[in-house]
Subunit: 296 residues, 2 copies
């Protein structure tokens, strides 16, 4: 238990804070509203246990949860992790992946729980805040908004396919599957640019674009789906787990300027929002609802 | 999914807050430091699946997590719940238990995640705050402090024993096992009384008293262990899951006065803190470290 605490606690604990070891963790005051999200990942469901090391389960679970903060334009302030595992599980390996993701996202692991179970599962909760403004919700997209994504799609699904075909763990697309990168900086830049709606593409554009439209009560005209190099169009639409951000903005120039100013890759325009809730078109055809299902 | 959201969302959502349905939940600003804790409960490990309904797993998981806030003297502000389950699980029943505990503790369910797994597991994260002061940690007990608990011990373990012997679910001690009651009000009263150290008795006095002493670098002289009616002395010491609070205070009169003033049951004196870290005595004998292990 103490060895695991040492693995996940890599940074000095700020004065007045308490992380692992008491009944609960104590964090410095957050600024403004509190943002919180929880995500569970199960070994063999969310990650193929025959193709990937256990470390990756920990990394992916934390990254997926942090991505939910990115999708609000929030700052990540802390993560707590509840782990279930059968006897004999290499908990140190699992927690190295958790710690790697926490370090990569600048979000300290402040607490945890270990329990026995048949499955290995990692339930991650992240908290964050939104200094200087409100979080960006899914529900704010308006007629005439431009739809953009923060990067080309399909990398994670292509990486899984390549791994199944025998590609090494270090393959660039396989890494995109194993070690997804939450778009925290892009999310904050989008919030600062006053975008109207935002979410992360965890289940694929083919599901998530519909969800954003549903939440906002609007439709869309999708012109182009940017397909990552090495991925298929189908992987780009329905693959999921890319964790790029989907954004609806009424001021594309401002968004581009702030992204550019912060050294972020230019947002990619994919279409626009229309008023008719039932209009869901891709290059003039119906854009069918489909996306990632948690199956191997 | 929407039916489950309706089950857990019983209260009106305050303006500016977002609970279930977006990438993350949004809560009103917390006051002062943020308190956060996570706990996982597994069906068949933390609760005997042959003796108790699934509802109770949800209730216990939330209650155990909220109890960690009670142990800091905090207010509970929100809970998020990640649930894993195999196909065919009655998720509505499970979430009724979650909602019951949330209602009983005044802590709204603000977010969740559902996933597939072999085990049924419930990973609960609670957040809270401590207006007007600091949380009470385990590490502050000092020589000469009086040790008290908030109630007689052994009820949960006795309830499990009675259930195994055929007692009905409505039996008072069985209810103590199924539906533990986090001592939020007692915890806040203790914090307001300026106590030096506090924790909840989740694993039994036989383990937890040692943990408090370890964290504070002190020893203790235990005079008396209050055994609940219907429980055995062994259940009171090593049974666990009572979720009464263990408190070290330098001003017993003040603690008693505040408890009395707020209509709380009088704290029960069990012993006192001594400077010698190695001195762990119960009625003149060594107080052996033993407590609840998560086994059926």
């Amino acid at each position: 238990m103490e060895r695991i605490a040492r693995i996940v606690t890599r940074r000095a604990i700020p004065p007045g804070e308490v992380h692992v070891g008491d009944d609960a963790a104590v964090l410095s005051p957050l600024v403004g509203r509190t943002i919180i999200s929880t995500d569970a990942a199960v070994w063999g469901v969310h990650l193929d246990a025959h193709l990937f090391p256990l470390e990756d389960l920990g990394f992916k679970a934390v990254a997926a949860a942090v991505s939910d903060l990115a999708a609000m334009g929030a700052y990540a302030r802390g993560v707590v992790v509840a782990v279930g595992s059968p006897p004999g599980t290499d908990l140190e390996e699992l927690h190295r992946g958790i710690a790697d993701a926490a370090a990569a996202t600048g979000c300290p692991v402040v607490g945890g729980d270990l329990t026995r179970s048949r499955d290995v599962f990692v339930a991650v909760t992240v908290i964050g805040d939104c200094p200087g403004g409100n979080p960006v919700l899914r529900r704010g997209a308006r007629e005439g908004d431009v739809l953009v994504v923060t990067g080309a799609l399909g990398r994670a699904a292509a990486g899984l396919r390549r791994r199944r075909e025998g590609a090494p763990l270090a393959d660039e697309l396989v890494v995109a599957h194993r070690r997804p990168w939450p778009r925290l900086r892009e999310g904050r830049a989008a919030r600062d640019a006053g975008v109207h709606a935002m979410m992360d593409l965890s289940d694929g554009l083919g599901l998530d674009l519909h969800r954003l439209a549903d939440a906002s009560g609007v439709g869309f005209e999708l012109d182009d789906v940017p397909v990552a190099r090495g991925a298929t169009p189908d992987e780009a639409i329905a693959g999921g787990e890319d964790y790029e951000l989907l954004i609806a903005t009424g001021d594309l120039a401002r968004l581009q300027m702030i992204f550019d100013d912060r050294g972020l890759a230019a947002p990619i325009v994919i279409g626009r929002v229309v008023a008719d809730h039932d209009r869901r078109r891709w290059r003039g055809r119906e854009f069918v609802r489909r996306g990632y299902q948690h199956q191997l």
